[in-house]
């Protein structure tokens, strides 16, 4: 795996905005003093007249973007996940979600892989709160290729969208030329019969590694990229339950309120199936290099493989 290309999904977000901006002059960008980190700075360099820095004031930024959307623009609004989904939750809920305005939130630095900055900046609750808003699309890409396609799909979608991107470079697992992305559709990356691993974000690459580890032990697993947390690809999740009989969910998010609970809610009502949830176990994160922090909290291929074996 040493020669696999690694790119942070936030990098791809910035370059995708620039690409789309060249085609659509109604695409505008709002940021809150983090353009260098969220990578909207890439857009800003080319289109300074439609990149609006709002300073460190995320609440105002969200509602101002709502106003711009009400005028017919398509604002992409960025900050760290902690502040976009956390601090500005109520502006997102009341000024964007309730009027169903066409605002796209590009939240970067989601999850534990923020690393050294520690718990105050490691948002593991954003899927939970954003999912709870009626009409909100919630997504997190596995790699740079999916991130680019997701930004395009978000632009084309009518209505509010929350996208979570990561800080750390992650392996590129999709082929740019053949990849097709659709909001609300999961993607089977590897077939298998003994269990299905449903993952999103950087946990997709870990899930593929887990499948390799399990294969060496004679266990065959299906691996699914569920980049869209909401609306959930119910058909595919139910198919995984029917075909594989056991499910492991993996996310760089609290096990409360995220992909794992969304899958459990669906299965408990429609097709009760044994599930294990790999994720952050209702604790705060801590400082450290991203890879070490992820390992410390049990978000590795080994942990996923163990969860599959625990189900057998």
């Amino acid at each position: 795996m040493a020669d696999v290309k690694k790119i942070a999904t936030r990098e791809s977000y910035g370059s995708a905005l620039k690409e789309l901006g060249a085609v659509h002059d109604d695409l505008v960008v709002f940021d809150a003093d983090l353009a260098g980190a969220t990578k909207t700075g890439t857009f800003q360099k080319t289109f300074p007249e439609r990149h609006f820095d709002c300073g460190i004031a995320e609440g105002n930024m969200m509602a101002a973007a709502a106003g711009a959307a009400a005028m017919g623009l398509v604002p992409f609004v960025s900050s760290f996940a902690m502040f976009a989904a956390g601090r500005a939750f109520e502006q997102v809920r009341n000024s964007i979600g309730y009027p169903h305005l066409n605002v796209k939130i590009g939240a970067t630095h989601g999850g534990l892989s923020v690393g050294e900055d520690g718990a105050s900046h490691q948002c593991c609750e954003d899927f939970a709160v954003m999912r709870s808003i009626p009409g909100m699309v919630v997504m997190s890409p596995a790699d740079a290729v999916e991130a680019r396609a997701m930004v395009q799909a978000a632009y084309e979608h009518q209505g509010p969208v929350y996208m979570r991107f990561g800080r750390s470079a992650v392996p590129v697992i999709h082929d740019e030329d053949s990849f097709h992305f659709q909001i609300g559709k999961g993607e089977i990356l590897r077939e298998g019969a003994d269990a299905a691993i449903l993952a999103n974000g950087l946990m997709v690459a870990e899930a593929l590694n887990a499948a390799e580890l399990l294969s060496a032990e004679g266990i065959s697993v299906r691996v699914v990229d569920l980049a869209t947390v909401k609306p959930l690809d119910e058909e595919l999740v139910l198919d995984c339950a029917r075909t594989c009989g056991r499910i492991v969910t993996c996310e760089e998010h609290s096990v409360i309120g995220g992909l794992g609970e969304a899958v459990c809610a669906l299965l408990s009502e429609k097709l009760p199936t044994p599930v294990r949830r790999v994720g952050v176990q209702d604790v705060f994160g801590c400082s450290g290099p991203a890879a070490q922090v992820l390992e410390h909290y049990g978000l590795t291929a080994q942990n996923i493989a163990q969860a599959v074996k625990d189900l057998r």
């Binding site: 505008v28 439609r50 101002a64 711009a68 959307a69 009400a70 623009l73 502006q91």
Partner: protein, 281 residues
Amino acid sequence: MTADEKKRLMALACRVRMGVIEGTHSAKAGHPGGSLSAAELFTYLYFKEMKVDPEHPQWEARDRFVLSKGHTAPGLYAALALRGFFPWEELKTLRHLGSRLQGHPNMNETPGVDMSTGSLGQGISAAAGMALAAKYQGKSCRVYTLLGDGEIQEGEVWEAMMFAHHYKLDNLCVVIDNNGLQIDGNVADVMSPYPIPEKLRAFGFAVAEIDGHDFDAMEAAFTLARETKGVPFAIVMKTVKGKDVSYMENQAGWHGKAPNDEEYEQAMAELKARLAEVEAM
């Protein structure tokens, strides 16, 4: 403005107040106090200041109004009904199940409402975002927003003020209804926002201070607002909460309480007498 025009606006403001009483009485809920204090403002905006078309509420080039103090929707609805955006009779459905007239404004339900509001502090941000968008789009429309004096205790309001000045939003006009009362009592006692004009000037706004029940003063202020270039404009209007309904005037208790049948009769009698007085002028 001519004496006739002023008389016409004064009569309309009386009718807006009647609409507030009709709506809140029928709803058995709602916020009459701050709706009545802003009756002249709603009247002036929809009958004198703003370019709007009731036949085409979504007209692209229209001026926008964001009711940041969304709880005073009964006043906005009364002005919209009078202006012809929907039937006057509909005011009686305020806050009823299935009504287009939600407790707080909903842009997707009510013709003429430009932004959904209700959570204090957010409307001014949305208005600033609209003004910014209009500038980028090269639209000549103007954006107006009304805030309560209690509402400006919200920190987001000052984030929006900074934003409006930073982006030189001279197409934005912020109006603050200084009726002096909020739910828990006098704004000065609950959490003083004073001095308001000085704070606005420090944030880079051009400011006019007026009597919010005086149409001549309103005309002068809105004219100055339109002529001011390079900075956003704010109008701080001194008003009486509950204005023109004797038992509601200057009573914090009438912030969010509906009149009962007896109180309704008294309020309507007082407002009809006031209307007759205006019409006889």
